[in-house]
C-alpha cells in the first residue's frame, strides 16, 4: 500500500463519517419518533461537527492532491457544478446549524423547519458528491 492511497483513504473516512452526520442527524431528529427539541439539541452539535468535518476533509482532498502531485483534481463541467453545490450546502448547513444552536428561543415549528432544511442540504450534498465522483 502506498502513502498516497493511505492518505486519501484516511481523508475519505473522515468525509464519510461527516456525510453520515449531516444526513443521518437531521433524519434522526425528525424521524421515527416525534420531534423533541431537547433530544434534538445534542444531535445539532453532531451535525455542526459533521459539517466542519465535511469542509475540512473536502479541502484536504484538494490539498493532498496538490502536495503529492502538484495538481488539484482535474474536474470540469458537471463535476465543477457538483462541487459548488457541495460547498454551498456545507456553508449553508454550518451557518444554519450554528444559528439553531445559538437561538434557544425559537419555536418548535421553526426548529422543525430548520431540521427539514438541514436534511435537504445534507441530502443534496450527498447527491452532488456522486456526480463529483463519477463525472469529472
Amino acid at each position: 500500500m502506498d502513502w498516497q492511497s493511505l492518505g486519501y483513504a484516511a481523508i475519505q473516512v473522515a468525509h464519510n463519517f461527516g456525510a453520515v452526520s449531516v444526513v443521518g442527524g437531521p433524519l434522526f431528529a425528525l424521524w421515527p419518533t416525534p420531534f423533541d427539541r431537547k433530544r434534538a439539541r445534542p444531535i445539532a452539535w453532531l451535525v455542526f461537527a459533521g459539517w466542519i468535518v465535511q469542509i475540512v476533509s473536502g479541502a484536504a482532498f484538494g490539498a493532498a492532491s496538490y502536495v503529492w502531485f502538484g495538481h488539484f483534481p482535474d474536474i470540469h463541467g458537471i463535476a465543477v457544478a457538483a462541487l459548488l453545490v457541495k460547498i454551498a450546502c456545507a456553508v449553508a448547513g454550518l451557518v444554519l446549524t450554528a444559528y439553531h444552536l445559538a437561538n434557544r428561543r425559537e419555536g418548535a415549528g421553526d426548529a422543525r423547519r430548520i431540521w427539514r432544511s438541514l436534511l435537504a442540504l445534507g441530502a443534496t450534498a450527498l447527491i452532488a458528491a456522486a456526480f463529483l465522483r463519477w463525472l469529472s
Binding site: D2, W3, Q4, S5, L6, G7, Y8, F61, A64, S65, V67, W68, F69, G70, H71, F72, P73, D74, I75, H76, A79, L135, S136
Partner: protein, 112 residues
C-alpha cells in the same frame, strides 16, 4: 507528533510523480503524431494505457480542455469535430481523485 510529521514528510518525498509514472505507459496508435486529418471525416482515437502504480483511469484532452473520461485502459474513441488548424490531443493518467499523476501522452494533429 514529531513521528507523525516525519511520516508525512516521508510520504511527501516518496510521492514524486516521475517515480509513479515510471512503470506506466500510454500508447496512441491512431492518429499518429503529426497526422493531417480530414475536417469532414470522423477521427477515431486508438489508445492503450498501462496506468502504473497510483494510476486509476485516464482523462482525454483536446487543446488542453478535458473532453472525456477514458475508463477503459485500451480502446477506440470517436473524437469530437475539430476546427481546421493545429490541435493537441492528450491522454493523462489520473488517480481515483481525478488528479493527474504525471504520466501523459500528447500528440499534435492538423485538421484540413
Amino acid at each position: 507528533m514529531l513521528k507523525l510529521a516525519t511520516l508525512l514528510a516521508a510520504a511527501t518525498i516518496s510521492a514524486a510523480p516521475p517515480a509513479l509514472a515510471a512503470t506506466g505507459s500510454i500508447t496512441i496508435t491512431s492518429p499518429v503524431d503529426g497526422a493531417k486529418l480530414d475536417a469532414m471525416a470522423q477521427t477515431k482515437l486508438v489508445y492503450a494505457v498501462v496506468p502504473g502504480p497510483g494510476g486509476d483511469h485516464t482523462h482525454l484532452y483536446i487543446d488542453g480542455k478535458e473532453v472525456a473520461i477514458l475508463r477503459e485502459l485500451e480502446g477506440t474513441r470517436t473524437l469530437e469535430t475539430m476546427t481546421p488548424g493545429a490541435h493537441g490531443i492528450c491522454i493523462k493518467v489520473v488517480n481515483k481523485a481525478h488528479t493527474p499523476i504525471g504520466l501523459q501522452k500528447c500528440i499534435k494533429v492538423t485538421v484540413e
